[in-house]
Symmetry: C2
């Protein structure tokens, strides 16, 4: 197989498409659609990263409040995810416009989106300018999951939450499980 | 739907599972399996992030060489991806052990993995300790794609490259496309 070189643009996929919530100084919530969200520190502490361009309204809100919530949508919610990425919260109340329900978080002022089966509350630890985006690293202070999306051992039931992914400027469903990490050790 | 709280561990999914190559001072290549790779800066410049724990062999190699290549595997390669994550390159030549083919890169010393349909060459711009991992931000200096995985307009043909994703400690295939970013604007 021959290889050809292409122009580098957003080259890595698939990634989680997420709805990130934050609040302004008066507590009014906003939502930004992100095409990628990052697990950076996995266990001690658990830290999630989000990259936001400086002009975005959520950049200002999260810079001031130092808090955000990552809400993982279902593939069924793809139109809502796309809508939330097409308008600015400076002009539109996205909860009202797209029929989303704000639930109070446990540890931060930003709300959970009830319709998203997984909600990850974060407190900003650092902000680093990296190229055309700023990377907000947020310590995870609480994780909420829909009751029917939790396994008996207290983890997320991946197949129950209908994950949405983002690849190469497209939204995709996820497919089929192929094996748990380490499965080849048991072969 | 009631929400329940769970223990936060690697909470975000799905993410790209990747094979990241690097070289030692003598040019001997190594491979590390990562369960997440990050698009941080999307266009100007294009910057990709990888998070590696300090004890890993690839942490030492990339810290010294300041270069790495992100190779995106197919879902068919899941056993190889898992194998490469189960042993250390300090003890094993993973190219030889798992039948992988090293191709010379265009701009960096680390090789491309021929069997992976997408190969992203990166030069390290910064390293930041974030919790239990260090984040290496790498400027993308070349992207290679298998000839039959490129569209006529010079982007990756997502459905041709059989992407593998990582979710919640499991490997998964991707599913079906749901729409291109902005599709709701045209509804």
């Amino acid at each position: 197989m021959s290889k050809v070189q292409i122009k580098p643009v957003r080259p890595v996929f698939p990634s989680p498409a997420g709805l990130v919530t934050s609040v302004d100084a008066e507590g009014r919530p906003n939502i930004i659609t992100l095409g990628e969200i990052f697990n950076i520190s996995i266990r001690e502490p658990v830290i999630v990263g989000i990259a936001i361009a400086k002009p975005r309204y959520s950049h200002a809100l999260i810079s001031a409040s130092k808090e955000f919530v990552v809400n993982l949508p279902t593939a069924d919610m793809v139109a809502t995810v796309d809508h939330c990425g097409m308008v600015s919260g400076r002009n539109v109340d996205k909860f009202a416009a797209y029929g989303l329900t704000a639930l109070p978080a446990a540890e931060v002022a930003a709300p959970l989106i009830a319709e998203c089966p997984v909600n990850i509350e974060c407190r900003v630890l650092s902000v680093q300018e990296i190229g055309d985006h700023d990377l907000f690293a947020g310590e995870v202070v609480a994780v909420h999951v829909d009751e029917d999306g939790v396994t008996p051992d207290g983890t997320v039931s991946t197949s129950s939450v209908d994950p949405l992914c983002f690849m190469n400027w497209e939204y995709w469903t996820t497919g089929q499980p192929l094996g748990r990490i380490g499965f080849t050790r048991r072969e």
